[in-house]
C-alpha cells in the first residue's frame, strides 16, 4: 500500500475519511498468551491457518545447515573447552589452549548467510574453562585477513590485555594476519567472564563474532548440575549498525526448533553472557520458573531470586534453577523486539532418564576435577 499510496498525491489526503469510517471487525488477532504456547509443543513450523500466530518465527520448510556452519547450537550449550593440562614444578596446573581466528561464512537464520569472523571457526568462540589459581596460556594464531586480538576479562598485566597499542614492541598488542601471540595469566578471579577481540573499529570486530565465554571455577567447585552456556548475541547482516537477527548462541529461534532437554527437578546452571553489539541492553526471562542469580559468578551466594534480568554488553552471570513440572517452558529476551527477531527458545522438561547423552555427560562427567568436590 505504501507504494501506491505515495504515488497518489492529491487523493492521498482523502484517506483520512477512510479512517473516520467505522472500523471493520474480523481481523485475526494474535493469540498472544504465553500460556497457550507453553501448553502445546513449540510450533515454530506449524501454521494451520491465518488466525494461528502463536509467536514470531522464521518461515517454514527450511533449516540452518549446522554441518556447513561447523558448529551446532545444541552442542555448543554443553561444550566446555578445558584445554590441555600439565603439572608445573611445584604442583601448579598449567592449562593451555590453541585459538585460531578465522574468517568464515555462517548461516545465522535459515537461508541468511553472514561473513563472520570467528575464534576456532565457531560463533561464539569456544567456552574456555579453567579453575581458579591455575596458570593459563592461550596460543593465539591470527589466520584471518584482518588484525585481531584476544582481550580477556580478568586479572592480568597490560601486555596480556590484548589491547592494540600496548606491548607491540614485546610481540603483543595487535596481532596482524599470519602472526601469533601467547597470552599468559592466572585464572582469577573465579566467576563467569568473557573474551573478545579489541581491535578498532571495536563494534565491528565484536559484532562479526569474535567473542566467547570464559569460565573460572572456584577452587571448591560448584554443586553438581546440568550446565549450559548461553551467549546472547545478534547479527547486523546489512551493516546498518542495528541487528536483523538476535539469538542465544548465534542461530535465531534455534531452541524453538530444538528445545533444550533438561531433567525435571535437576539443578540447571546457566552461564549467561551478553555480547550483543549495537543495542544498549539485553535480557533473559524464563517462563514458569524463578532462578538464583550470581552476577559475574564471583560470589557463591546468589544476589537475587527472580525470573527476569537485564545485562549490558559484557555483563554476565550464573543462573541456577530447577524445573518442578514437565512440559515446554519458553525463555527469551524480555526486550520483546529481540525475542521476536530470533532470541527465543524453549526448555523441554522431562524425566531425567530421558535426557540426552550430552546433558548426562555434562552433568556427571565433565568436571575433570571431579563432581564439584574440592580437589
Amino acid at each position: 500500500m505504501a507504494q501506491n499510496e505515495k504515488g497518489i498525491s492529491r487523493r492521498r489526503l482523502l484517506g483520512g475519511a477512510a479512517l473516520a469510517a467505522p472500523a471493520v471487525a474480523g481481523i485475526a488477532l494474535s493469540r498472544g498468551g504465553d500460556s497457550a504456547v507453553a501448553e502445546t509443543a513449540p510450533s515454530g513450523h506449524v501454521h494451520a491457518g491465518h488466525s494461528e500466530f502463536p509467536h514470531a518465527t522464521f518461515a517454514a520448510g527450511r533449516q540452518v545447515d549446522h554441518a556447513r556452519n561447523g558448529f551446532h547450537p545444541t552442542e555448543l550449550l554443553r561444550d566446555f573447552d578445558y584445554g590441555r593440562t600439565r603439572r608445573l614444578a611445584g604442583g601448579r596446573v598449567l592449562r593451555e589452549w590453541e585459538i585460531v581466528a578465522q574468517d568464515r561464512e555462517i548461516e545465522v537464520a535459515p537461508g541468511v548467510r553472514y561473513e563472520a569472523w570467528t575464534y576456532n571457526g565457531r560463533v561464539p568462540g569456544p567456552t574456555l574453562r579453567a579453575r581458579e589459581g591455575e596458570l593459563l596460556r592461550i596460543h593465539f594464531v591470527n589466520a584471518s585477513e584482518h588484525p585481531h586480538t584476544m582481550h580477556f576479562h580478568g586479572l592480568h598485566s597490560s601486555l596480556m590485555d590484548g589491547m592494540p597499542g600496548i606491548g607491540e614492541n614485546r610481540g603483543g598488542g595487535q596481532v596482524e594476519p599470519g602472526e601469533s601471540f601467547t597470552y599468559e595469566f592466572d585464572a582469577s578471579p573465579f566467576g563467569l567472564h568473557l573474551y573478545h577481540c579489541h581491535v578498532a573499529p571495536l563494534a565491528a570486530h565484536i559484532a562479526r563474532g569474535l567473542y566467547g565465554a570464559f569460565v573460572v571455577d572456584p577452587k571448591g567447585g560448584r554443586p553438581e548440575a546440568d550446565e549450559l552456556v548461553m551467549v546472547m548475541n545478534g547479527f547486523d547482516t546489512n551493516f546498518d549498525r542495528s541487528n536483523e537477527v538476535y539469538a542465544v548462541n548465534t542461530v535465531g529461534f534455534h531452541y524453538v526448533e530444538e528445545p533444550i532437554a533438561v531433567g525435571r527437578d535437576e539443578l540447571v546452571r546457566i552461564y549467561l553472557v551478553n555480547v550483543l553489539e549495537y543495542d544498549v541492553l539485553n535480557s533473559f526471562h524464563v517462563h514458569g520458573n524463578f532462578f538464583h542469580y550470581f552476577p559475574t559468578g564471583t560470589s557463591l551466594q546468589p544476589s537475587e531470586f527472580t525470573d527476569t534480568l537485564i545485562q549490558g554488553q559484557a555483563q554476565r552471570g550464573i543462573l541456577e534453577l530447577k524445573f518442578p513440572y514437565d512440559g515446554d517452558y519458553m525463555f527469551h529476551a524480555h526486550v520483546s523486539e529481540f525475542a521476536e527477531l530470533g532470541w527465543s527458545g524453549f526448555f523441554r522438561v522431562g524425566d531425567p532418564s530421558r535426557l540426552t547423552a550430552a546433558a548426562a555427560a555434562s552433568m556427571y562427567c565433565d568436571l575433570p576435577w571431579g563432581k564439584g568436590s574440592p580437589a
Binding site: M1, A2, Q3, N4, E5, K6, G7, I8, S9, R10, R11, R12, L13, L14, G15, G16, A17, A18, L19, A21, A23, V24, G26, I27, A28, L29, S30, H47, G49, H50, S51, E52, F53, A56, T57, F58, A59, A60, A109, P110, G111, V112, R113, Y114, F235, T237, N238, D240, E244, V245, G252, F253, E337, E340, L341, G342
Partner: protein, 406 residues
C-alpha cells in the same frame, strides 16, 4: 576506374543486399557468443559483493495476511530468506519462488495478524543479509478483485469521467450564443485548462515513477510516454488532415476543422483521464481512498471544466449532432473506467508512469493544435483576452482541484 572496381569488390562485390545486411548481425552474434563463452576475457571478477536492488511493487492486505510483490531491479539474482513485520519474524510463502532473477518478481504471502488503522514496517531479509523495506502507513483491507469490484470501478469511472465531462459539454448552447469576439478567449480558457492538466499529470507521473524500478526507466518513462503520445497524435493528425484535404478540397474545411479540434481535445483529455482513473483505482484498491459523496462531487465539478474545453472549438460552424457530442463525451470520459480497472486490479508503477506521460504528451499535442484558433484578428497568440482566458482556465482547475484534495 580500376580503384573504384577494387573498392566495389572490397565492399562485398556481387553479394545480394540482404546478405550485406545480415553479415554484421552474424558477426555481432558470434562476438557476443565468444565473449560469453570465455566469460568476458580481460574484465576480471566483480570488484565488490553482489548488488541487491529490490523494489516493492504492490502491497495487498487480507485478514491475517500481508502480500508483497517484489521486483528485482538490480544486476544480480536475489534470494528472499526471511521476512519480519514490525520487528518480528513472520512465516510466509513465496508464490514466485524465493529466488528472484534480474527483473523477475515474486509475491510473498506473509502471515501476520495486522490490525486496521495501525502502521507497519516490513523488512525482507535476503540470503546475503541485505534488507528490502516496505511500509504500510495505515493498514486497511484491500478489496477483492471480483465482478462487484469491477462494477464499482466502472461506476467510479462513470462518476468521475463520463458524467462530469458530458455535463460540461452542456455549455455548448451558451457558448454558441456568445459573440464571435469570445472565441479566442474561450480557446485560451481551454488551453489554460489543458496546461494545468499536463503539469498535474506530469508531476503525478514523476511521483509514481520514483516508486518504480529504475531498470524499467523510472522517471524516464514519463518522458518517453509523453514523446510517444505527442508523435503518434502528430502522425494521426498528418494522416487525417491529408485525407480530409483530398476528400473535400480546400476551403470547405471550417466546420470539419472545428469538429476535428474538438475530437483532438477529447482524445487528449481521454488519455489524461486514463491516468487519472488509474490513480484513483489503485488508491481505492490500496485503501488510501475513501469513496465518499464529497469526493465524487468534487471530481464532478473538477472534470466538468474538461467538458467545456471539448465544446469550446464547436462554438462556430454547424450544430453538431447529439450522437457526435455523446461520442466526444465518451472518448474523453470513458478511459477513466479503463484506468480504474487497471489501477485497481494490476497497478504497476512503471505502467502508471508511462500512462501519465502519455496523457501529458497528448495534451501538449492538443495545445499545439488548438493554439492557432486562439489568435486574434492581428494574428497574435497572447493578447489581453487570451491571457485572461488561459489564466482563468488554470484558475478554474486549480480551484476545483482543491475540492478533491481536501
Amino acid at each position: 576506374m580500376e580503384a573504384n572496381a577494387r573498392a566495389e569488390r572490397a565492399y562485398g562485390g556481387n553479394l545480394p543486399a540482404w546478405a550485406l545486411g545480415l553479415i554484421p548481425l552474424a558477426l555481432i552474434a558470434a562476438a557476443i557468443a565468444t565473449f560469453a563463452l570465455l566469460g568476458g576475457p580481460g574484465l576480471g571478477d566483480r570488484t565488490g559483493p553482489p548488488v541487491e536492488e529490490v523494489s516493492v511493487e504492490r502491497t495487498v492486505l487480507h485478514p491475517g495476511e500481508i502480500e508483497l510483490t517484489l521486483r528485482n531491479d538490480g544486476p544480480d539474482p536475489v534470494e528472499v530468506a526471511q521476512v519480519a513485520v514490525n520487528d518480528a519474524y513472520a512465516p510466509f510463502a513465496a508464490e514466485g519462488g524465493r529466488e528472484i532473477g534480474r527483473l523477475g518478481s515474486t509475491t510473498l504471502r506473509i502471515e501476520y495478524p495486522w490490525i486496521e488503522g495501525e502502521a507497519y514496517e516490513i523488512f525482507v531479509l535476503t540470503s546475503a543479509g541485505g534488507t528490502v523495506e516496505a511500509s504500510i502507513p495505515v493498514a486497511a483491507e484491500t478489496p477483492e478483485n471480483d465482478a462487484g469490484f469491477f462494477g464499482l470501478m466502472a461506476l467510479l469511472g462513470i462518476y468521475v469521467g463520463v458524467i462530469p465531462v458530458s455535463l460540461g459539454m452542456l455549455w455548448l448552447p451558451f457558448l454558441r450564443r456568445l459573440g464571435s469576439g469570445w472565441m479566442g478567449a474561450l480557446i485560451a480558457f481551454t488551453v489554460g485548462l489543458l496546461a494545468f492538466l499536463a503539469i498535474d499529470a506530469g508531476l503525478e507521473g514523476l511521483e509514481i515513477a520514483a516508486e518504480a524500478p529504475a531498470a524499467f526507466g523510472g522517471a524516464g518513462l514519463v518522458f518517453v510516454g509523453g514523446l510517444v503520445a505527442y508523435l503518434v497524435l502528430a502522425g494521426i493528425d498528418g494522416y487525417l488532415s491529408q485525407r480530409s484535404r483530398e476528400a473535400r478540397g480546400r476551403g470547405a474545411g471550417g466546420t470539419a476543422d472545428a469538429a476535428y479540434l474538438a475530437l483532438l481535445v477529447a482524445i487528449g483529455i481521454g488519455l489524461h483521464n486514463l491516468g487519472e482513473g488509474l490513480a484513483i483505482g489503485s488508491a481505492y484498491a490500496s485503501g488510501a481512498l475513501a469513496l465518499g459523496a464529497f469526493l465524487v462531487v468534487g471530481f464532478a465539478i473538477h472534470n466538468t471544466t474538461e467538458g467545456l474545453a471539448i465544446v469550446a472549438p464547436l462554438r462556430d460552424g454547424a450544430r453538431p449532432s447529439l450522437g457526435r457530442l455523446l461520442g466526444l463525451g465518451l472518448i474523453a470520459g470513458a478511459p477513466a473506467i479503463l484506468g480504474a480497472w487497471i489501477g485497481a486490479a494490476a497497478f504497476d508503477p512503471s505502467l502508471a508512469a508511462f500512462l501519465f506521460g502519455v496523457g501529458v504528451g497528448a495534451i501538449a499535442r492538443v495545445i499545439v493544435q488548438l493554439s492557432p484558433a486562439m489568435r486574434d484578428g492581428e494574428g497574435r497568440l497572447l493578447y489581453p483576452a487570451s491571457v485572461a482566458g488561459i489564466l482563468a482556465g488554470i484558475a478554474a482547475l486549480y480551484l476545483t482541484g482543491l475540492l478533491v484534495a481536501v
